[in-house]
């Protein structure tokens, strides 16, 4: 019996050391998460406010854990049964003083956490300014509509409709109106701020702000079907002047083909794709508006934007993104040459 206890003692200690090592390793390897996606690396005031609340709660909770672990380790070391002990130890009923202490202290800790929680809940719930106020303040409003498995982006004040990439100016609160077409999705850009659900039939509001220019990864956070994992989008923050330029490009988007092959591609597009897609940056087509596709961050939301990937996507969408609704090239009756022409046309739908 005695030997066994000793064996367990060392096991407990080595177990904890092992655990500590194994859990700290990924932290060291990844720094504190990548700045373009991690909530631990906030890139704007909203994410920062949430991050500071996370830090405060981690701090309080670490305190709790430390207290518990100290008592725990002491008890386990001190009060193990020693050989030769017989009978029973003193049977203690309880202690009102102690019990009141560990009721009151947690209450205090929780109040300390509850106050900033409530404050920040209200801080972060500001709705977009009403239309008159918006006209005065120039606040940017973006309508986001989630579909299985892509994001429709509309700038109602500028008549711009696009998809997947959300362009915003830096240093300014941008308001989002979020809804969904088919099932529930959730709109989340971790490094800029927390998420809000996109509910069909209902509209939610959220605002985000980016400090500096950059590409921030966005994700769908609510299970929405087989390709939920691939329903990514990007938030691209630009300096205000560059953003103005982008607005100008998009509000009068030139989708004319530039080369002969592209000309051919355009003809095929108008024959096979136009029922679902538009390319003018202004029409709310049933499936993504492709204006600026050549400069999008990704194909199908997650593949690197190369002509090869675009071709792969057009040829067999189901293989790229399970459960999506785009018909395959065979279903559309497109030949190899047709696809090449289409790829040529679509790739040159750029932003300049």
């Amino acid at each position: 019996m005695e030997k066994k206890v000793g064996f367990e003692g060392t096991m407990i200690r080595s177990n904890w050391r092992l655990l500590f090592l194994l859990t700290i390793v990924p932290l060291l390897l990844t720094g504190c998460g990548k700045p373009f996606i991690s909530a631990l690396n906030p890139q704007g005031p909203v994410a920062r406010e949430q991050y500071s609340l996370i830090l405060l709660s981690i701090l309080i909770m670490t305190l709790v854990i430390v207290v518990v672990v100290i008592i725990y380790v002491y008890v386990l070391l001190k009060f193990r049964e020693k050989p030769g002990q017989e009978g029973y130890p003193e049977q203690v009923e309880g202690s009102h003083k102690l019990e009141i202490t560990w009721t009151v202290i947690p209450i205090i800790l929780i109040i300390i956490l509850a106050i900033p929680t409530v404050q920040s809940t209200f801080n972060l719930s500001e709705n977009p300014p009403s239309s008159e106020a918006a006209a005065e303040s120039d606040a940017l409003l973006i309508k986001v509509t989630a579909h299985q498995y892509w994001w429709e982006i509309e700038y109602p004040d500028y008549g711009i409709v696009t998809a997947q990439d959300i362009y915003i100016p830096t240093g300014e609160r941008v308001y989002f109106e979020v809804t969904a077409k088919d099932v529930i999705h959730s709109f989340w850009v971790p490094s800029l701020g927390g998420k809000i659900d996109a509910n069909p039939g209902l509209t939610n509001h959220i605002f985000l702000e980016a400090d500096k220019p950059g590409v921030y990864h966005g994700k769908c956070a609510e299970l929405c079907g087989p390709s939920h994992a691939l329903m990514d989008f990007k938030v691209i923050a630009l300096e205000p002047s560059e953003f103005e330029q982008w607005l100008a490009t998009m509000s009068d988007y030139n989708d004319a083909p530039q080369t002969a092959l592209a000309e051919q591609g355009r003809a095929i597009f108008e024959q096979s794709c136009i029922a679902c897609h538009a390319t003018d940056g202004a029409t709310k087509s049933p499936y993504p508006n492709l204006a600026g596709l050549g400069d999008r961050e990704a194909i199908a939301g997650y593949l690197k934007n190369t002509p090869e990937n675009l071709k792969r996507w057009i040829e067999n969408p189901e293989e790229v993104k399970e459960g999506n609704l785009m018909p395959s090239a065979t279903e559309l009756g497109l030949s190899e040459q047709d696809i090449d022409a289409l790829v040529e046309y679509l790739s040159q739908l750029k932003l300049n």
Partner: protein
């Protein structure tokens, strides 16, 4: 009437009964201990099933852009893993333990409604079978265990099996809840006042009360979903004026208390085991009782913290935030009371106690992350990410599963008559604990680093590779640990010859005062309870034996019956009929199956009602032994 009993005892004493008669005995039993064992066996089976599903998911996520399973299959695995573990593994195993132990702890001869107890079990089993049939009929449910609409109302036929499977087993669960409550309120031995009940009995009582109030919300929600899917109702169809948030509220009005339905009995187990192996009475018994009641009560006002990101507005979010944080207070009381129970005690590190010792820090981790996710603005970041996955696995594996394992090692000799092997037990424990922390601790970080939950894959270069790899290794360790547990069971029941002593751990409560194996009437004479920890009181202030509260007399026992399994089968057929509605071009074929099932069930109910069954009596001469027990 007593001839029946004589026949039973003589069969069990003399010759080895045939396989058929043993099977018949189990199929018709209304004995709470046998029903408990069946719960444990069926729950164990589903636990392995759910574990394999989890393992497949972890293997898929081991590397970025892995192609072991497709997105659809992953969603099916994930949905079935969650649903199976909650409804068909954790809850039934707890019900098994409650069935085996709680009536013994209060000195009762059975539960209040033995017939309904059997019915509950068979309903649960048929519900689980119904849901898993979907694997063989095209598609399994794939909208997550929460089955948010409209994804769930539009999902393929597998979803029907989720709806009906849960409906069938939910009916059984509700019956169990009522059964346990009435048992605890009216069947306690003389002298056992409410404030002398063992903690496990107390937590069972509160968990049962939660079942009674929480399950109807799920029942209602499932009916709405079923009507939408099968009869074209418009509850969740926006085009028809429906609303997709109603389901979420109904689901979580049930779903949050469900968490406490699972964890409260585990709290009870920890209280019992810690007290026994510290050789001390539970520190702050009355505050433990109050904390349990408070957790149950507050547990009902916090469900919307699962919905902070839904867009309920700041007032609701703030209110539910604060209410949720409040739960930490009674939970904290429990943690400190356990620590103080060990303080000044003489701790024996048996496997059961090791599981409790492992439980405390693990559950504290789950608790503190619970407070963290309660802060609504921070939860906008945590919600639906791996942080939440880590959090609830810390409470459910670190809390409920560790508690269940402690209970299995602790009560195994009483339930099965053999003591599990301690050396294998310790291997089992350490591998499981290390595997558990490896699997889930890194998931906190993954979530904060931006990995959403329920994703079947992730892209390279986002920084999720290391964490996921470690997590998968941990899952494999947990699987090995589970395998060792199975080996331990097989080893114990094939190699160990001696029957365990009646009181192998120097126990304090009434279940240890019965002989092992426990006779089917539990106590020849109902024991007289003189205080909290009644057996301990007799050990220190008496001669170590319980005093009888009644003279020797006839014992009234309920008769076995085949009707519970037949009735449950009829209800299973009803469910199956509804599930098949999309398989036939003519819907009336499936409604005909429903009709057959309904008529059959009603006939069984009428049989039960018409066949007057007053049970039977055992004469004192027919007991195998006299006295309270031992």
């Amino acid at each position: 009437m007593s001839t029946h009993a004589v026949k039973r005892t003589s069969v069990s004493l003399q010759q080895k009964p045939s396989f058929g008669s043993v099977l018949w005995d189990w199929l018709t039993t209304v004995d709470h201990k046998k029903i408990g064992i069946m719960y444990l066996a069926a729950g164990g089976f589903f636990f392995i099933l759910g574990g394999l599903e989890a393992l497949l998911m972890r293997l898929q996520l081991m590397y970025p852009e892995n192609t072991l399973v497709s997105g659809t299959t992953f969603n099916e695995l994930m949905t079935m893993h969650g649903t199976t573990m909650i409804f068909f593994a954790a809850m039934p195993i707890l019900f098994g333990l409650i069935n085996c132990i709680m009536p013994l702890q209060i000195g009762a001869r059975d539960v209040a409604y033995p017939f309904m107890n059997a019915l509950s079990f068979w309903l649960f089993l048929f519900g689980g079978i119904l849901m898993n049939i979907s694997w063989f009929l095209g598609s399994a449910p794939d909208a997550g265990w929460t089955s948010y609409v409209p994804l769930a109302s539009q999902a393929p036929s597998g979803m029907d099996f989720y709806v009906l499977g849960l409906q069938v087993s939910g009916a059984g669960t509700l019956m169990s809840g009522i059964n346990f409550m009435v048992t605890i309120l009216t069947m306690r031995a003389p002298g056992m006042s409410l404030m002398r009940m063992p903690m496990f009995t107390w937590t069972t009582f509160i968990a049962s009360a939660l079942i009674v109030f929480a399950f109807p919300a799920l029942t209602a929600g499932l009916f709405l979903l079923m009507f939408d899917r099968i009869f074209g109702a418009q509850f969740f169809d926006v085009a028809g004026g429906g609303n997709v948030i109603i389901w979420q509220h109904l689901f979580w009005i049930f779903g949050h208390p469900e968490v406490y339905i699972l964890v409260l009995p585990a709290f009870g187990i920890i209280s019992e085991v810690v007290s026994t192996f510290s050789k001390k009475r539970l520190f702050g018994y009355s505050s433990m009782v109050i904390a349990t009641i408070l957790i149950g009560f507050i547990g009902f006002m916090v469900w919307a913290h699962h919905m902070f990101a839904v867009g309920m507005g700041p007032i609701a979010n703030a209110l539910f935030s604060v209410a949720t944080m409040a739960i930490a207070v009674p939970t904290g009381i429990k943690i400190f009371n356990w620590l103080l129970t060990m303080w000044g005690g003489r701790i024996r590190f048996t496997t059961a106690m090791l599981y409790c010792v492992g439980f405390i820090p693990s559950f504290v981790m789950g608790g503190v992350t619970g407070v963290m996710v309660a802060a609504a603005p921070a939860d906008y970041q945590y919600h639906d990410t791996y942080f939440v996955v880590a959090h609830f696995h810390y409470t459910i594996v670190g809390g409920v599963v560790l508690g269940i394992m402690a209970a299995l090692y602790y009560w195994w000799p009483k339930i099965f008559g053999k003591k599990l092997n301690e050396t294998l037990g310790k291997w089992n424990f350490w591998l499981f604990l290390i595997g558990f922390h490896l699997t889930f601790f890194v998931q906190h970080l993954l979530g904060l680093m931006g990995m959403p939950r329920r994703v079947y894959t992730y892209l390279e270069g986002l920084g999720f590779e290391t964490g996921n790899f470690i997590s998968t290794i941990g899952a494999i360790l947990m699987a090995v640990a589970a395998l060792i547990f199975v080996i331990n069971i097989i080893y114990t029941h094939t190699r160990v010859k001696e029957i365990a002593e009646a009181d192998p751990w120097d126990g304090r409560t009434l279940e240890w005062a019965t002989e092992t194996p426990v006779p089917f009437y539990n106590f020849a004479q109902t024991p007289l309870v003189r205080g909290l920890d009644p057996l301990f009181i007799e050990k220190t202030q008496g001669d170590g034996k319980m005093k009888p509260a009644e003279p020797l007399g006839e014992i009234h026992m309920p008769s076995p019956s085949i009707l519970p399994i037949l009735l449950a089968f009829g209800i299973f057929i009803v469910g199956l009929g509804f599930c098949l509605h999309s398989f036939f071009d003519n819907k009336w074929i499936s409604y005909f199956i429903v009709f057959i099932g309904t008529v059959f069930s009603l006939l069984m109910m009428m049989f039960h009602s018409i066949k007057e069954d007053h049970g039977y009596h055992i004469h004192p001469n027919d007991y195998t032994n006299k006295g309270v027990g031992m």
